[in-house]
Amino acid sequence: MNTSNITRRHFFQDCAIGTGKIALASLLADSAYGATQSPNVAAPTHFQPKAKAVIHMFMAGAPSQLELFDNKPMLTKYEGKPLPPSIIGGQRYAFIRPDAAVLGPRYKFAKHGQCGAELSEMLPHLATVVDDIAIVKSCRTTQFNHAPAQIYMNTGFSQPGRPSMGSWITYGLGAETRDLPSFVVMSTGSGISGGAACWSSGFLPSVYSGTRFRNSGDPILNVSTPQGIESGTQRDTIELINAMNQRRLKLDGDGETATRIANYEMAYRLQSSAPELMDLSKEDEATLKMYGCDPKVPSFARACLLARRMVERGVRFINIYNEGWDAHSDVAGNVKKNCGITDQASAALIKDLKQRGLLDSTLVVWGGEFGRTPMVEASVSLGRSLGRDHHPQAFTMWMAGGGIKGGVTVGATDEMGFNIVEDETHVADLQATILHCLGIDHERLTFSKAGLDFKLTGVEPCHVIKQILA
């Protein structure tokens, strides 16, 4: 169909060592994507992958690394004094002036695990799995506003219109399941600034868009049979449609009709596989307790548990958004509240995946779109105090599972937590690393569009974070 598919097929065929479930291809002569290329089948990778699936816990709003991971006692010492302009450089801020005074960390830190990584007292649960995670304290982005920064983290570009990481990955790797979407997005919280652009397929075919799993109504839009129609009728209807379409296929010979027939079958399967996925009644008490999850109430914890169930069922890429970290005022309260929501479940997800033998093949990523300033945010007109503004120069993320070495900390910031002084890790480096764990060379996953060869990681050189690879 498209030049792009040639590119992709070319690279994957020429370079693959092949681990995908090719057999599925024969089930589905998907003419829209070429006879051997369907979004519904797994494709070979560039090299041996460690991870098959990704769970990206997106801490939207941007958590304060200074209250969670990056302990800076110097900030306490200099609290109330501004940073010298030489440190700040030309950085632009959203709300504060560059000469705002610094604010000391609001929480105590302690060393944990065999690795001795430092975590704040707000992360007691993460502390119990700290030897399984790799912490990157030297993340950096180019964007200092939420929507562009979230879109940038997801798509490698600050404006809407490019494919998101989940889209690239499902485009590159295809699917492991035909009963559920391969790229799922869950969100619990006040709302995602970047909106649908965060899981858009951009210029990739729309089948690679993230599918929203929703908290109210159908988990997948329209996955329930309309009220008043019994399941037998639904089945009969699909059979009638498909029989009619079979007849049409014979008459007109259009491969799209064959694909449509297969999609009605898959839609029917989704109608049972989605509720089955959402049904947590078979999860034991200990598991629910570990996550801190009320199975009936949508929550971050429930989304984490669902993510594990999705991974078990072959879903490729899962985004869980927790919005609410935007601590312009009362950073202490904000961190406390959001850790209350996320800490236990994030750690439980690691433990649960591990105990089920899934952690080795599942890459878990945790972090926000940027960091928060060492300087305080306060504003009389906005009624703000003891907050922190957006800080693109340095923030912390952690990764665990497939392809990642546990108990490692990479990167460091200066004494004031303002700039990175060791192992600067750009957003593109994070993306390259995620692709790497999945067996994809970020430079070879490309799509030609409007005269350019697009990549998730963009045009600037970037690198895989080797120090955290298993």
Partner: protein, 987 residues
Amino acid sequence: MTSRALILCLGLPATGLAVDFNRDVRPVLAQHCFKCHGMDDQGRKGKLRLDLREAATGKGKSGELAVVPGKPDASEVIKRVFSKDEDEVMPPPHTKTVLPESAKNILKAWIAEGANYEAHWAYVPPKQAPLPIAGMHPIDSFIQARLKQEGLKPSEEADKYTLVRRVYLDLTGLPPTPAEADAFVNDKSPDAYDKLVDSLLASKQYGERWARRWLDLARYADTNGFEKDRPRPIWPYRDWVVRALNEDMPFDQFSIKQLAGDMLPKATPDDLIATGFHRNTMLNEEGGIDPNEYRFYAMVDRVSVTGTAWMGLTMNCCQCHTHKYDPILHTDFYRTMALLNNADEPTYFIPTAEVEAQQKAQKEKMTKLEAELPGKFPGGKTAMESRFAGWVEGESRRASKWEVIKPTKMETTMPHLDQQADGFILGSGDISKSDVYDLSFKAPIKGVRALRIEVTSHSSLPNNGPGLTNYEGPIGGFFMSELQALQNGQRVKIARAEDTNEDEDDKINDSPATTAKAKAKAAAKAKKKNNAQATLDGEMSSGWQVLGGYGVQHAAVFHFEQPVDLTSGLDLKMLFEKHFACPLGHFRISVTTGEHAEAMGYPAEVEEALAAGDKSKHELLLHTFLENAEEMKQAAAPLLAARKNPARGQATLVMQERPASNPRSTHRYHRGEYLQPKEEVTPAVPAFLPSLPKGEAANRLTFAKWLFAPANPLTARVTVNRQWQAFFGRGIVKSLEDFGYQSDPPSHPELLDWLAVELVKQGWSMKKLHRLIVTSATYKQGSRITPELAQKDAENVLLARGPRFRLEAEIIRDSALKAAGVLSLKMGGPGVYPPQPASVTSEGTYGKVEWKVSEGEDHFRRSLYTFTKRTAPFAMATTFDAPTGESCLAKREVSNSPLQALTLLNDQMFMEAAQAMAKQVMAESKTDDERLQNIIRRAVTRPAAAEEMAMFKAFLQKQRERKVSDEALWADVSRAALNLDEAITHP
């Protein structure tokens, strides 16, 4: 790519054609070589460029001759591409691109044949070649000549049901009703089809169908995009597009108005509305953004979209660097930007006769209300006169004599300030998050005790001002953080300040909508801190603010600690700083030597009359009294309310060229980065294209006209190609958005050029072009894909059959509504809200937006009118590949997914359609057979075959066994019919 492959395998060796530079060689060079050996001086390797024959046949850095015409073996290029040596082979291994054998052989053959270069086909103006087969419809002549060459035959004409369905869908975006189809099928006159085409082209639905395609390019949406994604009024632009297409406005006029309607002589309201095209860029209103950064992105988008929509140029590549393949320089991008970059972006209230009548009525009403006021005074005339006299006496004592002073110098960080005759200063132009006004005064006044800043609304300002805030904050408001007075560089102490807007609500609050209580609390807290006094406290986050709106009139008075002598000059520095840009837009400075100055809250002329005891101003004072007196509160309320809400036309977003006094400069941005502006550039079109006409101003209007100049090789081709794609699912040039070196060569170059020239000859008439296409035998062919065609030409490049493809999202929904007999044909107006699950907009979007489903007719409007929210688009539309309006789209994807099946099967909207259809069918038809035929014909136009009837009857039988009610039963059948592949496929 496939077409190139097709040409490679069909063309070269088999038919023994010579190598064609444009068709065969340039794509290879462009894709594999130009990146390092093209026109980009920065990226060039080995001092070799292969895009020019002179350079390619000369010596490279290695000293070898790259291309020796006629001698491939002596040519370094051939040696290198065939080399097995990792250090020698081209392209080098690190580029991770591999030159296919076929491409190597093309280069070899090309050099052997003399290494001729030709100009790129798209950059040479098109010419009409003679028809290859005389006496035939021109389109068929070209298509069939080619088919003959390839040994293929055209398919037979489609049956009449298919034809009527196809042409209805293509021209109006709606299927015919069974009756409409029958009218055509039963019309045995020879011109039945032509008559049908003419009637469809004349129908109002034509404009709606074709507007949707144009709006994809225009990246039209009803919200601003990004985090806040607030609604914006721009649907008048959408309706203008529909009207223009229905009127068959020539495409050149259609385009010129959209790009530069405001600059046309005697521009009409419609000409202004048309400029909404480039106002469809997104607007980031997130707290704390840099507005000029996002304005820059909008400009980048405008240049790219102009390149895509009219020129088929991938200008977007040149934001960051010179094009790697095409002859477009980095500077060309910014010079083109300069052509488009000199406009302000106001909200325009569309004047209509209706609005004028309303305004007139309102004026009369206010005059009447004013005249009635004295009569409403409690206690009658005597009471009023006595109270009035007392008021005048009291207020006269409070009033001071103020003298307006005009600056001798005005400097600002960014906005443009103009001194007006009435002493007011009017701001315009761009604004930033931290703006400083530096005003110098000198006046023969000594002993100045106080200084007053009056701020009033002005129609040129956003939301009428008095501030310049045009996004995020309270629109039209301002926020003065600090004010300083200086004499000879020394601070002049200001003892205190007061203002007249004590009871303004503070709405500057960036916290997302949480609880009303929390919001009110935050607002109350801020209000206490935000007043004129706060401009003196050295704290940037507090200040004096006034919210925008019509008829706003406020003032602040600043009291000097010591009398100031203005003969030795005075400087005023005002700082406007917040997390959004907030400078003042319309204000006047006056001073008084009086000792008891205060911010009185009356218009300046009232205070002046009071202070002067001016008897001639009796009327003015009386009315001021009546409108402000405590006992008149109730009586004056209607008048005050009427003043605040003037009748004005529907708002829409437009472009307005800046006045010559304040041109905007444009720079080149290194690597396309906003923070790296370099040298200023002058406006010009890309250098490789014909230049703008000499003697004309290099501006937007000249540029828009230049697109349609006879020498411009691109516009007509790009336009024709896009129309062709709409009918055939594939362009003659496959890449609708790219006519550059990397594009696929046209499948039928002579046809493309013939049509391009014809379009111009026919006065750029779209309807004529559409008629030409749909009356061709090529268009009317049956679309069956025979095994032979599937094998020889799977993509239907050669058009040996009619087009088949899944319908667009809007057409699918509109078809279902029309089939169900519930579609509303009401045209125009604000976006509507058809049913969709609440979670689409309530979850995951910032601020939880409620999708309030439209009732009545608006429930069933054409999809063109569905409200489009960028960050949470209408779910059904997205599922079927409709764009979100976040970027320009020349061609939609056509995907085929299980989510589409779920939508058609289970979505409430389609369920409602099925139920409505069942109701109508049950009323119209009696027997099972009649009802089934009725349903199938509504869904797919043609009657059902016996075999199909049997399938549906078996379904009926089964459901009857399930004891499904009759109504539900027929809804089930309707639902199945609406789900058929045929119901959503261009037949």
